[in-house]
């Protein structure tokens, strides 16, 4: 018998208890799941650094945030909506899809489909016992559930701006991409104050479905962000996930991809920047449950000031995943002697006929490149900025083109 984890007294556990006490009783379509997760959280210890998965990720600053739910966000300041974009604003007191004309190919999941998708036997149900997920499900007032059929011409843009509100906001999205469906999704997470944003995105891709998912997360030194992405891929499906995160006091991003029977293609691109006392942690996990799956992963990090960047990239290749072709590369820039980078490729390979490459580099800006630029009259700070911009743009330029309206490169480097 496995013993239940013991919930010790800690600031974060007390914070969580206070939050649970202050929540309105469960209500709406999520009431049953809210109750389950709230009960779970009563007993579940919050992450602390004694847990292997949280060894380098200290969520203590979350305990400084007001332990209350933010019930309604005001409308964010956002760029004009381009023709090829359908914007959905999350977190206001309105139904986020009210008044939104969904583009051809996108339909809402009905109540029965949603309940089935969230049910215990579904790929899209949250993994039990994971604190960030239980926290999200305990709070999230609704789930946006969408079915994607055929090729959706417009980019779906989800915007959640916690702004200067104090407290916790949670959002959850479910996507089911039918066979040969194609969707471009841009998720914009913003904050400008002492708040915690929790986002869980669950996606199931049927055969030959394609998803390009960009996450642009620009935060605030007092803000925290917990994002979890659970993607189930059937063979011949393709996923490209690009995350660009900067400015959060604490940020934990957990992209978890499961190639259900192998044979799918997964591309992961990530960029995170920390300075001051910020912490950014990406814990990715890609599992191949069948043969001939492919992964192409690049994780980039920039750490300045007293910032700390963490990357843990698990790639699981069990016996049945023969002829898997996986490549993982972590490239980090350390811009200060007080900054810290922890990067850990974690390849679990049992199959014997596979190609699994991994590499990790941590370096400063290239001195020969800096000198070259200087020798052309460019002052050292501007030369460093040019090199930093080049380092970052390799990932930023891969965001869905709709991201350009948010000026991601300029805003990202503003925090550098």
């Amino acid at each position: 018998m496995v013993e239940a984890p013991i919930k010790h007294c800690s600031a974060l556990n007390s914070w969580c208890d206070m939050l649970l006490d202050r929540l309105e009783p469960p209500s709406g379509p999520m009431a049953a799941l809210q109750s389950i997760s709230r009960n779970q959280l009563e007993a579940l210890p919050a992450p602390d650094r004694s847990q292997e998965d949280w060894r380098f990720c200290d969520l203590a600053p979350v305990a400084e945030i007001e332990p209350q739910q933010i019930c309604s966000l005001s409308k964010p300041t956002a760029p004009v909506i381009a023709n090829q974009v359908t914007r959905v604003v999350i977190g206001t007191d309105q139904d986020p899809l009210a008044g939104v004309a969904l583009p051809d190919g996108l339909t809402l999941l009905n109540e029965a489909e949603l309940q089935q998708a969230l049910g215990p036997n579904s790929n899209l149900a949250i993994a039990k016992g994971q604190w960030p997920l239980e926290l999200n499900q305990a709070i999230a007032p609704r789930v946006i559930g969408l079915r994607v059929s055929g090729s959706v011409e417009k980019t779906l843009e989800l915007v959640c701006d916690a702004s200067t509100n104090r407290g916790v906001i949670a959002a959850r999205l479910l996507l089911i991409l039918e066979e040969q469906a194609k969707l471009e999704l841009l998720q914009v997470q913003l904050s400008a104050g002492a708040n915690l944003t929790s986002v869980v995105v669950g996606v199931h891709l049927h055969k030959k479905a394609q998803l390009r998912h960009g996450l642009l997360a620009l935060g605030h030194p007092e803000a925290a962000l917990l994002t979890h992405l659970a993607i189930a891929q059937e063979p011949t499906s393709e996923v490209s996930h690009i995350s660009v995160c900067q400015g959060w006091g604490v940020m934990r991003h957990e992209p978890q991809l499961n190639q259900l029977d192998g044979g799918a293609h997964t591309e992961l691109r990530a960029l995170q920047l920390v300075h001051s006392n910020q912490l950014a942690d990406t814990h990715s996990r890609v599992r191949f449950n069948g043969p001939e799956g492919a992964l192409d992963q690049l994780h980039k990090a920039v750490a300045a000031g007293n910032g700390r960047s963490v990357f843990n990239g698990v790639v699981q290749v069990p016996r049945e995943a023969q002829r898997t072709n996986a490549a993982q590369l972590s490239r980090s820039l350390l811009l200060s002697d007080r900054a810290r980078i922890d990067t850990k490729p974690e390849l679990e390979i049992v199959a014997d006929d596979v190609k699994c490459a991994h590499g990790a580099t941590v370096s400063q800006l290239q001195q020969d490149a800096l000198f070259y630029l200087q020798s052309r009259g460019i002052a050292p700070p501007q030369a460093a900025q040019l090199l930093l911009r080049a380092f970052c743009d390799e990932v930023i330029c891969m965001l869905p083109s709709a991201a350009q309206a948010w000026q991601p490169l300029a805003r990202f480097l503003d925090g550098a």
Partner: protein, 262 residues
Amino acid sequence: MTCPDAPVLIEICDLHARVDDQPILNGVNLSIRAGEIHALMGRNGSGKSTLSKVLAGHPAYTVTKGSVSYCGQDLLTLQPDQRSRLGVFLGFQYPVEIPGVSNLEFLRVSTNARRIEQGKEELDTFAFEDFVRARLNLVQMDPVFLDRSVNEGFSGGEKKRNEILQMALLEPLVAILDETDSGLDIDALRIVSAGVNQLTNAENAILLITHYQRLLDLIKPDYVHVMAAGRIVRSGDKALALELERNGYEWVDRELDTLEMT
């Protein structure tokens, strides 16, 4: 084109420099006036490239003795970017590849840095495109290279053309060209040399570092210097380069032995 009354642009006196603990330059003396073309030759490891990098301000080299005066200013107290903005240009032997930095943007930022120093108007993106395209012809460079990252994926010849393009944009007073001929095929050598010749005038000067006479057939030097063991051991006119081509550097060893004995 030499003129004894032309102003001295750069005056190197007894220059000593080392990298880590290794002395490389051991007392270089060289004076270059406006309008002059100097060729610097010598065996591998004689200190030619080190001299060029010291003049450009490479941080890996430490000057231990001597001075360099540039247009009356102490060059050695200036940062590499200040030197460039004031008109010192180093054409790299191995131009650095900088992935992700657009060549066009790099050239624009660099050109504007120099223009501001010269009291000229900064060029915006559009004005600069016109400016750079006019100069591309000088080295017969395909405009497609402007849209690429700095030197990334360029062939050896394309990199050298890009260096001379930068020289054309920055309009330096003293250009030090470190083995600009290496990696160039015969046609490219001709084109690049023609570009350099077009950029020379009575106001500026060139220090050409090369191993081969073939470059000096195309860019005619007023003076030829031979470097060995970190100093200039002989200076002459273009006949000296021809002599080197015929006889090699064995005489240098004898000359060095004599110097050591004295």
